[in-house]
C-alpha cells in the first residue's frame, strides 16, 4: 500500500490540490494500479533497447529553424485567451 505521505508528495510534484477524501481514494486506487504493474517483472526481456526506434518509415522531418509568418490576428487570439493580460503580454504573479 503506497503511503499517504508519498501520495501527498506526488500530488505536490504534479501541482494538484487534493482534498483529504481525494487523497484517501487516490491512495487506494494508486496502490491497486501499482500492484498490477508488478506483472511486468515477468516479461521475458532479451536486452530490448528502451529507446523508441519504430520500424515506420520516417525521413528527416525537422523543418528549418526560421520564423514563419502566421496569419494576421492569431497572436491577438492567443493573448486574448489568457485569463490575465496587459497590452500584448500575458500577466503572471510574481516569481521572485
Amino acid at each position: 500500500m503506497i503511503l499517504a505521505d508519498e501520495v501527498r508528495h506526488i500530488a505536490k510534484l504534479a501541482r494538484l490540490d487534493l482534498s483529504e477524501a481525494e487523497l484517501k481514494k487516490m491512495q487506494k486506487d494508486l496502490s491497486k494500479i501499482l500492484d498490477y504493474f508488478n506483472l511486468l517483472k515477468n516479461v521475458p526481456l532479451a536486452g530490448q533497447n528502451p529507446i523508441n526506434n519504430t520500424k515506420a518509415p520516417r525521413g528527416t522531418n525537422l523543418r528549418e529553424d526560421e520564423a514563419k509568418l502566421k496569419r494576421v490576428g492569431l497572436a491577438e487570439k492567443l493573448i486574448a485567451a489568457a485569463p490575465d493580460k496587459k497590452d500584448d503580454c500575458i500577466k503572471v504573479k510574481n516569481i521572485l
Partner: protein, 469 residues
C-alpha cells in the same frame, strides 16, 4: 424526401445530381440533432452557424462544378480537435470556455474539401477513459441501448454516427478510443498508423500513441474520410509522407493471423462466438487462417498504463491557469497552479497525472517507465514477427459488449481492463479497424483487424469484405 441515412457516396450523388442541396442536407441533420440529442447527449456544442455557412459555401462550389467526394457532407468532430472559432473543451471544466484560435490540420484538410461541421462531440475528459463517463459535462448514451455506455473516449463521435445525427465523425485513439466506441455502437472506426494523420490541433494525451481516426456507418465512408485527413503535415514532425492508395485484393489467399492469447480468460462467450464466426466467414471466402502467438498481450495493458499516463502528466502540465482556460485565484503563482488544477481536472485525469508523475519520479523511473519502454519494444517485435507470417491479424476489440452506465466507475482498474485488446496496437504504432460483425442480443460486437505499418488499404479491403458478408 428523407435526407437522413445516406452513405457519403450516396449523398455525393444526390448533391451532384441536384436532388437536394448541401443546405437542405445540413438542415436535416441539424433538425435531427435538435430532436434526438437530448436523449443521447452526443454533442457538447452544435455549431449551427458554422454548418450553415459551410453548407452555403459547398452549394456554391457544387454549382460551379467544383464538387469533390466530401463537399457538403455533414460530420461531427470530437471535442479534442480544434475547430477555429468554436469552443474546444476536451470535455474538461478546465477548458470550459476555451475557444479554438486555429484549426487542427485535419480540419484544414476537411475544410478544403468543403465539408459541413455539425458540432463538437462529447468524450472522456482529455481522452482518458473507455466509456465517456469521465466527461466533465455529460454522459453520452449508447443509441442501441440508452442504459449503456457508447464506449470511450470517442463516445460522442460514435453515438452521433450510430444515431444518424452525423454522416461521419472524427475521433482520436490513444489506447482504443476510436475502436472501442465503434464496436460498442455498431459502426466502423479506424485507428491509422502512428504518423499517418497529423496530430496538429489535437489536444494531446499520449503524444507517442495518439492518432485521429474516422468513424462512419460503412467501411467505404471511413476510407473516404481517411483519404482526406491523412498525409504529411509540416506542422507535425511525427507525421509521415504517406499517400493512401486503395487495395481491392479481397480475402482470397489472404493470410489472417488469429492470436491464441486473445481468446483466453475473461472474454464474453457470445463475443468470442461472433468473432470466431467472422473468422470462419473470411475462411469461407478463401482466406488462410493461421494461429499465431502474441505473448506480449499479457503485459501490454500494464505497459500502456505506465507510458500513457507518463506522457499525459507532461502534456497536461500546460493547464496551469496562466495561458488559457480556468484560472483560480491564489496567494502566489504556485497556489494558482494547485488550485486551478485541483478544481479544473476530474478524478480520472487526476488519477492518471498521479500515476504518470509517480512512475517518472526519482527512484521509480527505472523500475516503471524505463521498464515499460523496454516492454514496448518487446510488443513491437512480437507484432513484427507475426507480420512476417501473416498479412492481417483478426481478434476481438473488447472482451465484452457495451457495459451498463455506472457498471465499472467504482473500480478504475476494471475499466482499464476493457482496453486489453486495443492498447498493444497503439504501443506498436500499427493501424487497426473495428468493423461490426454481429450482435449479442441487440448489442453490437466489432471485429478488430490489425495491419502492418501503413497497410490501411489492406485493412479497409478486408473489413469491406466482411461488412457485406
Amino acid at each position: 424526401m428523407d435526407l437522413i441515412g445516406f452513405t457519403i457516396a450516396q449523398a455525393h450523388e444526390g448533391l451532384k445530381n441536384k436532388k437536394f442541396s448541401s443546405k437542405e442536407l445540413a438542415l436535416a441533420y441539424l433538425d435531427k440533432i435538435k430532436k434526438l440529442d437530448k436523449d443521447i447527449n452526443s454533442f457538447l456544442s452544435v455549431t449551427e452557424n458554422l454548418a450553415l455557412f459551410q453548407a452555403e459555401e459547398a452549394d456554391r462550389k457544387i454549382k460551379e462544378g467544383r464538387i469533390s467526394k466530401l463537399t457538403g457532407i455533414p460530420g461531427a468532430i470530437k471535442d479534442a480537435i480544434m475547430v477555429e472559432g468554436e469552443r474546444c473543451t476536451a470535455a474538461s471544466k478546465i477548458l470550459e470556455n476555451y475557444v479554438a484560435p486555429y484549426d487542427a490540420a485535419v480540419i484544414e484538410k476537411l475544410k478544403k474539401e468543403g465539408v459541413v461541421i455539425l458540432g463538437k462531440t462529447n468524450m472522456d475528459e482529455f481522452a482518458m477513459g473507455s466509456s465517456t463517463e469521465n466527461s466533465g459535462f455529460k454522459i453520452t448514451k449508447n443509441p442501441v441501448d440508452l442504459k449503456r455506455v457508447p464506449g470511450g473516449s470517442s463516445g460522442g463521435s460514435a453515438a452521433a454516427v450510430a444515431a444518424d445525427m452525423a454522416m461521419y465523425s472524427l475521433g482520436s485513439d490513444t489506447g482504443g478510443s476510436v475502436r472501442l466506441p465503434a464496436s460498442f455502437c455498431g459502426i466502423v472506426g479506424l485507428k491509422p498508423t502512428y504518423g499517418a494523420v497529423s496530430r496538429y490541433g489535437l489536444i494531446p494525451f499520449g503524444s507517442s500513441l495518439d492518432q485521429i481516426g474516422p468513424m462512419a456507418k460503412t467501411v467505404e465512408d471511413c476510407r473516404l474520410v481517411f483519404e482526406a485527413i491523412s498525409g504529411r503535415d509540416e506542422k507535425d514532425a511525427t507525421s509521415a509522407d504517406y499517400k493512401f492508395t486503395e487495395s481491392h485484393a479481397g480475402l482470397r489467399g489472404l493470410k489472417i493471423g488469429v492470436p491464441k492469447e486473445y481468446f483466453v480468460k475473461g472474454i464474453d462467450k457470445d463475443v468470442e462466438k461472433i468473432i470466431r464466426n467472422a473468422i470462419k466467414t473470411a475462411q469461407d471466402q478463401g482466406a488462410k487462417i493461421i494461429e499465431i502467438s502474441l505473448p506480449s498481450v499479457e503485459f501490454a495493458l500494464a505497459c500502456y498504463y505506465i507510458i500513457a499516463p507518463a506522457e499525459a502528466s507532461a502534456n497536461l502540465a500546460r493547464f496551469d491557469g496562466i495561458k488559457y482556460g480556468l484560472s483560480e485565484p491564489g496567494k502566489d503563482l504556485l497556489d494558482v497552479y494547485f488550485k486551478t488544477r485541483g478544481k479544473g481536472f476530474g478524478a480520472e485525469v487526476k488519477r492518471r497525472i498521479m500515476i504518470g508523475t509517480y512512475t517518472l519520479s526519482s527512484g521509480y523511473y527505472d523500475a516503471y517507465y524505463k521498464k515499460a519502454q523496454a516492454v514496448r519494444q518487446f510488443i513491437k517485435q512480437d507484432f513484427a514477427k507475426a507480420f512476417e507470417k501473416v498479412d492481417l491479424i483478426f481478434c476481438p476489440v473488447s472482451p465484452v459488449p457495451a457495459i451498463k452506465i455506472g457498471e465499472k466507475t467504482a473500480d478504475p482498474l476494471s475499466m482499464y481492463l476493457m482496453d486489453i485488446y486495443t492498447v498493444s496496437v497503439n504501443l506498436a504504432g500499427l493501424p487497426a479497424i473495428s468493423v461490426p460483425v454481429g450482435k449479442t442480443g441487440n448489442l453490437p460486437v466489432g471485429l478488430q483487424i490489425i495491419g502492418d505499418y501503413f497497410h490501411e488499404n489492406k485493412i479497409l479491403d478486408a473489413a469491406s469484405a466482411l461488412e457485406n458478408a
